[in-house]
Symmetry: C2
Subunit: 287 residues, 2 copies
């Protein structure tokens, strides 16, 4: 019995959304809400309930790590086309946890210094410590997505990176980090409507960048690049999940469920006191 | 009219809690709830309302910084005796904002590398960028608190640090950072009861450290050290606020009010589009 089975999930989203053998991105319907037997209203209620579970598991994980340095970490990797809802996941799913146990990093266009190093250099520096939930808003996958589409690196370098990524994530998993990789998948039409809303509302203008349309014009090439990335880097230890994201409430619920699963698989425990409780009570009472 | 005046505050807590000329820590009652005309129940409701205001201001501040690199940052500095509620402030006040606009740093005992540098070195590296709310859970003030009480540095070095801190914070303020310094003030009896609860509850054992009682035994010396710190480093540009913290709900509300004041004094605005909105609408429509 997992936490997620307590709610409107009819099928474990971890299995349902996982990228396995023969996966085809083109077959995923961005409007769908697979495995969830409920509508927006139920989804929101379940999100609130899940937030409490997530916060409780997070606190236990953090607590365990304070006493046991071999405690695992969790790393959520978010990739998506512009406006697919990464920010909303951070605000509504991650935002419901304790900031003290979160390591959030939004990766931007690499700086001159970062470009002087291997593409994984800046990523390694941002990995979560034991007991933390790390969140990558974009990640090393940019280097094989925009990197391939915009030909920022030659094909043989892109090829090398796939191997490097799989090695890197295997090491991560071996060192006790639960890697949860998520592609938020919206349709091209949904993106158009979301970008138009940003142009229509003065309080959203800052979220829009003319470059967004430049990338949008390359939509088919991005979908091809995602297909390749998903095929080449969805491994047993660090599988990808493609989350239909036209319905924001569903995407948030699904990512929350994936995080809950990751934390439950760690099964963190309140650590035993590393001191003599009775003796400390006496010492404190006398103080 | 400030946001805080809309709620149960009868007097602006920024003025009321501010450390000014002739301030005496010994005169502050940790049980008091100065300036707030309401009880716990009202305080909680106001905290929720304030959270929405804080999130809205935070988003505007962040938005402005995306377009205008001269946008200010906010830096909340939290200092307190153990168990005074710093963690609760982070969870309940900061936790209600968008994690994407927060830079949280919990300073621990300095590492060997950190000790090889000036005490401000590790602090400078964690300053919030424009548009961010930085939160220091402990800070450079440890170096003049435990630093003085435990004689980790000679008196002339402690003396030098006061000057260095004032210079540092003056530079910070000049570069556009709103510095909000808070001492959470609990009584010795309240600390005893909170530490005892940690010993009584197995799910709280991890929060207790035998060293907590060692520090507790030095309570009067810590109060003296705080008094000196407050006297020497409460400046016009970066004043200290002493927040009575025996009532957790009050302390959270007061710190939230101080943050709201800081953000309102910045008065962040939705930035104008740095592109031609009509032209982009046409380009997007055609895409």
């Amino acid at each position: 019995m997992t936490a997620t089975s307590q709610h409107g999930w009819t099928t474990d989203p971890r299995e349902l959304l996982r990228v396995g053998e023969g996966f085809r991105l083109a077959d995923v319907d961005p409007d769908a809400t697979p495995g969830y037997d409920g509508r927006k209203k139920h989804g929101r209620a379940d999100l609130r309930a899940g937030a409490d579970e997530l916060a409780a598991l997070q606190e236990r994980l953090y607590a365990q790590s304070r006493v046991d340095p071999s405690t695992p970490a969790v790393l959520l990797v978010l990739q998506a086309m512009d406006s697919a809802g990464k920010g909303g996941i951070v605000r509504h799913v991650i935002g419901a946890t304790d900031p003290q146990g979160i390591r959030l990093k939004a990766f931007k266009k690499p700086t001159a210094e970062e470009l002087q190093h291997d593409f994984l250099w800046r990523v390694e520096r941002e990995l979560p410590e034991p007991g933390f939930i790390g969140v990558f808003d974009r990640s090393h996958y940019e280097d094989v997505l925009i990197g391939a589409v915009r030909e920022l690196a030659p094909p043989e370098e892109i090829e090398r990176r796939f191997g490097a990524i799989n090695d890197f994530e295997e090491r991560l998993a071996a060192s006790g980090t639960k890697v949860v990789k998520v592609m938020l998948h919206i349709s091209s039409a949904e993106q158009k409507s979301r970008l138009m809303e940003r142009l229509d509302r003065p309080d959203k203008h800052w979220k829009y960048n003319p470059g967004d349309v430049d990338e949008r014009l390359l939509w088919p090439r991005y979908m091809d690049a995602f297909q390749t990335v998903l095929e080449r880097t969805s491994t047993d230890l660090a599988p990808w999940h493609v989350v239909p994201a036209n319905a924001k409430w569903y995407a948030r619920l699904a990512v929350q469920a994936l995080l809950l699963d990751a934390l439950e698989s760690i099964d963190p425990r309140w650590p035993a006191a590393a001191y003599d409780v009775a003796a400390e009570k006496r010492r404190l009472a006398a103080s």
